[in-house]
């Protein structure tokens, strides 16, 4: 089972002829992901890493039956690429690209609402169902198949925590990076809803950070109706106010979005928040006993 990606994933890579696109096409194929094609406008007819390149997503979908797309297109063209995928009927779109302008994303969100497509990201490492499919840029070898759902706004911090999980015998059902931007396609609460319905997921690790209110909304949702144990980690306890901490969305603005308020929101609904990454598996051991 797991969620969103797996054996049924038929993936196309938008921006496949670029440096990052071709490199990760190879790594995703090596991991076992079913990559069926790629898209770069004007380069249709080529082949990259043994898969055919098309000029448009529509053609790629028609010829390959793709149901998922991963986007490596540069920031200034990425919003268009996301909308193209949605318009061609792709149901799961994963945008790796960092630096897409906010006003572009506002339009993308409104556009996607009418298309029934789910967007993961942008500015994210993608997602992985270990042993089945990797639709992203994470190092596949640190993941093991298991029963912990992982959802995170970060990339390398996720790898850090996942490596502690794996080392302690906690495999993952699906691990999802939802992205570090202020406007993202899928929020914590959306992923929690999917983990709730996934019989393979026994517990969830949620990795948040300063900025915005998505963690607080997730905490409120967990208190209301989530039925599985959750362990959280929040980055940015020492972050100064009004400074953008690398991620476009990681900013305490107008006093809102501090680590303390997020930690408090989780603790209020009985979710334990780890102080250190390596405490995450320790807490899981205690609560899954």
């Amino acid at each position: 089972m797991a969620i969103l990606v797996g054996k049924d994933t038929k993936l196309i890579v938008q921006g496949i002829t670029g440096r990052d696109g071709s490199f990760h096409t190879r790594l995703m194929k090596e991991y076992g992901t079913n990559v069926v094609g790629g898209v770069t406008p004007g380069k249709g007819g080529m082949e990259v890493e043994g898969v055919p390149v098309f000029d448009t997503v529509r053609e790629a979908v028609e010829k390959t039956g793709a149901n998922t797309s991963i986007i490596f297109v540069p920031a200034r063209f990425a919003a268009d690429a996301i909308m193209e995928a949605a318009d061609a009927g792709i149901k799961l779109i994963v945008a790796i690209t960092e630096g897409i302008p906010i006003h572009d994303m506002l339009k993308v969100k409104a556009y996607l609402d009418g298309k029934g497509a789910r967007l993961i990201g942008p500015n994210c490492p993608g997602l992985i169902t270990p042993g089945e499919a990797k639709v992203g840029i994470m190092p596949g070898h640190i993941f093991r198949r298991g029963r912990i759902g992982v959802v995170s706004r970060s990339g390398t911090l996720t790898y850090e925590i996942v490596s502690h999980l794996t080392a302690n015998g906690f495999g993952q059902s699906t691990a999802i990076g939802i992205g570090g931007d202020p406007i993202i396609g899928t929020k914590f609460i959306d992923v929690l809803r999917m983990f709730r319905e996934d019989p393979e997921t026994e517990a969830v690790v949620l990795i948040g950070e300063i900025g915005g209110t998505d963690e607080q909304d997730a905490a409120e949702y967990i208190g209301r109706e989530f039925n599985k144990p959750v362990v959280a980690f929040i980055a940015g306890r020492t972050a100064p106010r009004e400074k953008r901490m690398g991620h476009a969305g990681a900013i305490i603005a107008g006093g809102e979005g501090t680590a303390e308020e997020k930690i408090k929101a989780f603790e209020k609904v009985g979710v334990r928040v780890a102080d250190l990454p390596e405490q995450v598996p320790q807490i899981l051991k205690e609560i899954l006993k």
């Binding site: 920031a75 200034r76 630096g99 897409i100 302008p101 906010i102 006003h103 572009d104 994303m105 506002l106 339009k107 969100k109 409104a110 556009y111 490492p125 840029i137 994470m138 190092p139 640190i142 995170s152 970060s154 990339g155 390398t156 911090l157 996720t158 790898y159 850090e160 490596s163 570090g180 202020p182 406007i183 990795i207 950070e209 300063i210 915005g212 998505d214 909304d217 980690f233 980055a235 940015g236 306890r237 020492t238 972050a239 100064p240 400074k243 953008r244 901490m245 690398g246 991620h247 476009a248 969305g249 990681a250 107008g254 006093g255 809102e256 680590a259 102080d275 250190l276 990454p277 390596e278």
Partner: protein
């Protein structure tokens, strides 16, 4: 990118918003000159990229030339929240019959821009939201349709029920504010206060704009407004190198790949009793020259007593980081202990390179071990 008052007003002026006459001055001589042009009373306002100017004494009224010069001199020699005031805005002080609040903000929760209006202007809007939420009206805007004129009118009639003619003037300002927000791809465009004077004129008395950094490539005119008087030159230099760097007050420099891990590294340093000297994300690529540059930036801070390099290699190759570190030691005069944790892609190669280099690096296996070690070494050298 934040536009401070005088810059935000420059931008708003282009959209035809009513701005009281005013001039930016950096010296008392300049103040004397502009006072010849201005009608009294005048207001002298520190131009700094932080809030709370008024409380800090950075905003003063003056009704005579002498008084204005004296107050300007004082404000120009002030520091506000640690930032020296390098320039002031000297402007005609309009008389205030009513102060209102108006802004367009990004609503992350609903993925839309929001018009926010309040009958309580001139005060901290977050405070109003807490104490008197009914005094605030919020209306979200369809990003594809944009703000409609009728929406602006509805907001304005609510905001200023006292006088329909004035309300219609305010509706016009709401439309212009929204246009400036969209055109400049802002995350925030704020007027606080929007003033109605005793003759029924409406004025933008204070303004603030935050433009989306990721959209600046489409707005060279705004990029050009960057006020170098208030930018940390190291943060700008870092940006040119594709590094994300923020200076902090502690003494443990740290260099990390990925923003989340970088924040967590700062937190772990603090957890073990240390204080981070910075936030530094070297990003996903692993160009050795970038690593060298990052070390140079960290070490340019005289407070730094120890450095912690924390890399989780995925896309980033740890051997590239190792190469950069070795190069840094070769070209920079490194006097502080450097603790290195490299995990992931090519870590064996990286470790071997560092071992064989004979450099005085302290290699560790985990993030916690590295943070503890760095804290211990920084304390020892104090």
């Amino acid at each position: 990118m934040k536009l401070i008052e005088y810059q935000a007003k420059e931008l708003f002026k282009k959209y035809g918003m009513p701005i009281p006459e005013g001039y930016v001055c950096k010296t008392v001589d300049e103040v004397k000159e502009v006072l010849e042009k201005l009608e009294f009373p005048v207001v002298i306002k520190a131009q700094v990229p932080v809030g709370g100017r008024g409380k800090a004494g950075g905003v003063k009224l003056a009704s005579t030339k002498e008084e204005a010069i004296e107050k300007a001199e004082k404000i120009l020699s002030m520091e506000i929240k640690g930032i020296p005031v390098k320039k002031i805005l000297v402007a005609h002080a309009v008389d205030i019959a009513k102060e209102l609040y108006l802004s367009i903000v990004l609503d992350r929760r609903n993925n839309r821009a929001l018009v926010m209006a309040s009958r309580e202007g001139g005060v901290d809007i977050e405070e109003v939201a807490k104490t008197n939420p009914d005094a605030i009206l919020k209306r979200d805007i369809d990003p594809i349709i944009g703000l409609r004129d009728f929406e602006a009118r509805e907001i304005a009639f609510w905001l200023y029920p006292e006088d329909k003619k004035i309300a219609l003037k305010i509706a016009g300002i709401i439309g212009k504010l929204y246009k400036s927000y969209v055109d400049s791809e802002a995350q925030l465009a704020e007027i606080n206060p929007l003033v109605v004077d005793s003759s029924g004129q409406v004025w933008v008395v204070d303004a603030k704009v935050i433009v989306d950094d990721n959209a600046l490539f489409r707005h060279p005119d705004i990029e050009q407004m960057r006020d170098l008087d208030y930018e940390d030159p190291r943060e700008l230099e870092a940006k040119e190198w594709g590094l994300s760097f923020i200076k902090l007050d502690g003494n443990i420099g740290n260099m990390v790949n990925g923003a989340g891990l970088a924040m967590a590294t700062m937190d772990v340093i603090k957890y073990y009793g240390g204080e981070p000297a910075n936030f530094l994300d070297v990003g996903g690529s692993s160009n050795p020259e970038k690593t060298r540059k990052a070390m140079e930036l960290l070490l340019s801070d005289p407070n730094v007593r120890a450095v912690f390099v924390n890399i989780f290699g995925g896309i980033t190759r740890t051997d590239d980081i190792a190469r950069g570190l070795i190069e840094a030691f070769r070209t920079l005069d490194i006097k502080v202990p450097v603790v290195v944790r490299l995990t992931g892609t090519n870590e064996e190669i990286a470790r071997k390179m560092l071992d064989e280099s004979g450099l005085p690096l302290i290699t560790v296996r985990t993030m916690s071990e590295g943070a503890r070690k760095a804290v211990e070494l920084a304390n020892r050298s104090n």
